[in-house]
Amino acid sequence: MSVVDVLVVGAGPAGLAAGIEVAKRGGRVCVVDRNLEPGGQLVKQIHKFFGSREHHAGVRGVDIAAQLLEEARALGVTLRLGWEVFAIRPGHAVDIVQAVADDATGGAGDAPTERFDARSVVLAAGAEENALQFEGWTLAGVMGAGAAQTLINVWRVRPGKRVLMVGAGNVGLIVTYQLLQAGVTVAAIIEAAPRIGGYGVHAAKIRRAGVPILTSHTILRAEGVECVEGAVVAQVDGTWCPIEGTERRFDVDVICVAVGLHPNTRLASLAGCRLVFSPALGGWVPLHNAFLETTVPGIYVAGDAAGIEEASTALEEGRLAGIAAYERLRDVDAEGHAEIAAIQRRLDDLRGGPFCGGIRAAKSALQTTGETPCPAT
């Protein structure tokens, strides 16, 4: 059994930032991630980030990941890659299992396990892509938009020849553009809502490239025996019901689903953290206070696992959670308090933009009252 001050789950922006802050303060910290390559979903973000310079504006996600990793390694953060957490027991005993064996055949059978005795835990396991159920939704070739992004930008492999993108939020728009950059044809983007959810600047690039964006359209079915061979879409009315006679077929071999993300709450749930439902934050989310501590003392959340936002907020939350998770063990000094307050201020700024919707309100309600406001409909 290994003893650490803080065990961090997930080596994305939140997890690496948490690890860095603990190590900076002299704490023993281990970051566990099932992927052999650290960086989380930053590694597939090949576009430049928006925002302020303080938050890496103009820098590509994959480069931010490299910077974080370099800093983490220089500070002596231990990374356990190819391993995943499968149990968090009372008193923060954390069990991990090897997900990718050293001889590259693993994940099954008698995979080795190890136990950590952690004084606190930061859950930074990110998000999962939402699924969309329609006829043929399990055919090979129906995949998350994030999956397609991994294929083209990390693996450098095309998922197919022609794609239908379902969802015109920022993920749907950005992945469409990146598919075009990768030499894949995108037949159309469909969006059930009457308007495009993502930024106008992204939508304009897509339209200039000649890809139609069909709002008020839904997918009726994917065609094919084992693999996708086509998709049928239809226009929807004001009550989201398909309008008869508006069906259109697209000859595609891939259907990408970009209908949002939800926080990965599996370990939080397993550890007994109380979850609350917050539509603005993407669904069920572990209840947490302004220091990102959940209802189980010593277990913290950060990043998308604490509510769906951006990589920049994940980074700041990771820093905060790292400091809070480590400093709870000792008296927080004035400097620590000042640092936490500065991060909270930056998070507030990040959430103050015109496109942040109800996130600031939802976070603040969650953190002060433990209740989430109902969205205005």
Partner: protein, 104 residues
């Protein structure tokens, strides 16, 4: 299906070429890439068939979360091919159901 040239990422880096045997067929792979990447590059899209209805499944999440891409690798079932790297001479088989006990 490989993306040799990319406007942002540039030319595909050199990598040692290795070979896998997938359901008896020889498939070329780039050292270091996940098994699922080599299969996708070779146009292989079905990874497994479900236990109850024998429905085909392929890549869904590509980051080790969902297990839809699980296959039998070197005799071991339920290996997530999207996070497991290739190795020269690796034997990969389409998985039917949840795998036999001898494969676990």
């Amino acid at each position: 299906m490989r993306i040799e040239r990319h406007p942002i990422l540039g030319q595909l880096a050199e990598a040692r070429e290795i070979t896998l045997r997938v359901d008896g067929r020889v498939v070329k792979a780039r050292e270091g890439e996940p098994i699922a990447a080599a299969l996708a590059a070779a146009g292989i899209r079905v990874h497994r068939y479900t236990a109850k209805r024998s429905e085909a499944r392929g890549i869904l999440c590509a980051i080790g979360q969902c297990t839809d891409c699980a296959m039998i690798v070197n005799g071991m079932a339920n290996v997530r091919t999207c996070i497991t790297p290739v190795a020269d001479g690796m034997v990969v088989e389409t998985q039917r159901g949840v795998g036999r006990r001898s494969e676990m």
